[in-house]
Amino acid sequence: MKRKISVLISLLFLFLLFWAQWNWKHLSSFPSIISSFYSKEFCSCYFVMELSEEQCHNFARQWVPISEFNLDKENKSVTVKGLGRTNTTKYLSKDYGCTLVSD
């Protein structure tokens, strides 16, 4: 019985491993979504739409909470950390608004 269970668990683990490899490009970029979305939407909300910080947090927040947030009003940029990934969005100009900074 015990052996059956351990075989089953090993098979399940192998299956998970295959699935993870199969979907690796999706899985590896997934954690970054939280902080990039938050920083991009907050930047545009605050610097382009000119709404309050409170309203912009409400606009940008998602189901997964963020761990760090920094609004740099002088350099017009927003840096956010979530799920262990950090992303920054910069405000460029009135015409072109905000752009996510590429690593």
Binding site: S36, K40, V48
Partner: protein, 395 residues
């Protein structure tokens, strides 16, 4: 007893599996011709403001439209219910109603999300009129990433405008973030260069044969325009060729890491300025005597994508009548698709965006309606809203 139970279950299953009937019920969609407008009023640069009654609209009926749009139907902290940020209504080219909510005002720009797509289509109208591109040009003529293989080489500009490229995109937002190509494009793997990222998707269907709404199609179109015009001209293109002639100065159009306009999502405008885009289309692409869009462009804009006829059944196929980066209300009878807003005039056409952004043009009633919002759930029912708008017109 057992038999009747089985029978009951069978009946239940039959009903549960009863999808939408998409069998043909008529011929081609009827796209009426735009009526000649006798004395169009032009904003210079602002709309003339008049009372609703003076242009045949009932103020008391308009109150019901206002109630529908601005009555809060859910908890603000949970972002529930209808959350309207702006509502602007024009009749006969004159402003009859304007109201803002949730800290927006007439001079604050608002994110238009996918309404941006309809303005990117305006940029194409300008490029076609200038003779720089043709609708049936294969995309790779102008844009190298689409020359990957023979299959990708078949994708034309018309296919992309009709959301019929056949590229295997996944347009899921909150529902399926893991495999969503639109989220990968905007926020992670594609953000440095959205056009190249999207052109790299494999094909799921022969170009032109399947309508699949995809932000990728739009951003490939945007990247093609950058090649057609050259980076310097392209940077000024929407501002010089569209916004300036229409007197739109308060506007922001964001770009990806390579300087391509994110035509799928990130155009910011005021409600009254977005109404000008609608008005340009209501006047068949002519603005104050000057033709900005080619003859026939608005007709093309109002015609459902031909690819509908061969698009396989899916649950959401019958939800809207997608045209060329705009939406129609004609139905697609030869595919069995009814009009999405049965209580609105059949000639209504629209630019629509995520979380409740809407630009409606109703030629038969000479109406333009812009509604901005931030609905995080399906709380704003377009047909109910349009019914009230239609009923406010008394002559």
């Amino acid at each position: 007893m057992k038999q009747s139970l089985v029978l009951a279950l069978l009946i239940l299953f039959t009903f549960l599996h009863c999808g939408k009937d998409l069998s043909p019920f008529g011929g081609e969609p009827e796209v009426t011709t735009l009526t000649e407008r006798l004395k169009p009023e032009w904003p210079s640069p602002n709309w003339k403001v008049v009372s609703p009654e003076s242009v045949g609209v009932s103020t008391s009926k308009l109150k019901l439209v206002e109630e529908y749009a601005f009555t809060r139907t859910g908890d603000e902290t949970d972002r529930k219910g209808r959350r309207t940020d702006a509502l602007v209504i024009l009749r006969n080219g004159k402003l009859i109603y304007e109201k803002y909510g949730r800290n927006f005002s007439e001079d604050k720009v608002h994110l238009t999300w996918s309404v941006s797509k309809s303005i990117l289509q305006t940029m194409y109208g300008v490029a076609v009129k200038a003779g720089l591109v043709k609708l049936d040009d294969p995309g790779y003529y102008h844009y190298e990433p689409l020359s990957r293989d023979e299959a990708h080489k078949k994708i034309t500009i018309r296919h992309l405008l009709n959301m019929s490229s056949g590229l295997a995109a996944e347009e899921g937002y909150e529902s399926g973030p893991l495999k969503s190509s639109v989220i990968a494009m905007l926020y992670t793997r594609g953000r440095k260069d959205m056009g190249t990222f999207c052109a790299g998707l494999p094909l799921r269907a022969e170009p032109g044969t399947q309508v699949y709404y995809s932000s990728c199609d739009t951003n490939i179109l945007s990247a093609i325009l950058k090649k057609v015009y050259g980076a310097e001209e392209y940077d000024k293109l929407p501002f010089e060729k569209i916004f300036k002639p229409l007197g739109i100065t308060n506007v922001t159009f964001e770009r990806d890491g390579s300087g391509t306009y994110i035509g799928s999502s990130y155009l910011y405008m005021t409600a009254k300025d977005l109404a000008k885009i609608g008005y340009l289309y209501l006047n068949d692409g002519v603005w104050n005597g000057e033709r900005l869009l080619p003859e026939g462009w608005v007709q093309f804009t109002r015609t459902p994508a031909p690819g509908y006829k061969t698009t396989p059944y899916s649950e959401d196929l019958a939800e809207d009548n997608y045209t060329a980066h705009w939406y129609a209300n004609t139905g697609v009878p030869d595919r069995g698709i009814h009009e999405p807003w049965p209580d609105a005039p059949k000639d209504t056409f629209a630019g629509l965006g995520h979380w409740g952004q809407m630009l409606y043009v109703i030629p038969s009633l000479d109406l333009i309606v812009v509604r901005f919002g931030d609905d995080r759930e399906k709380a704003f029912i377009k047909n109910d809203f349009l019914k009230l708008v239609k009923e406010s017109v008394i002559r």
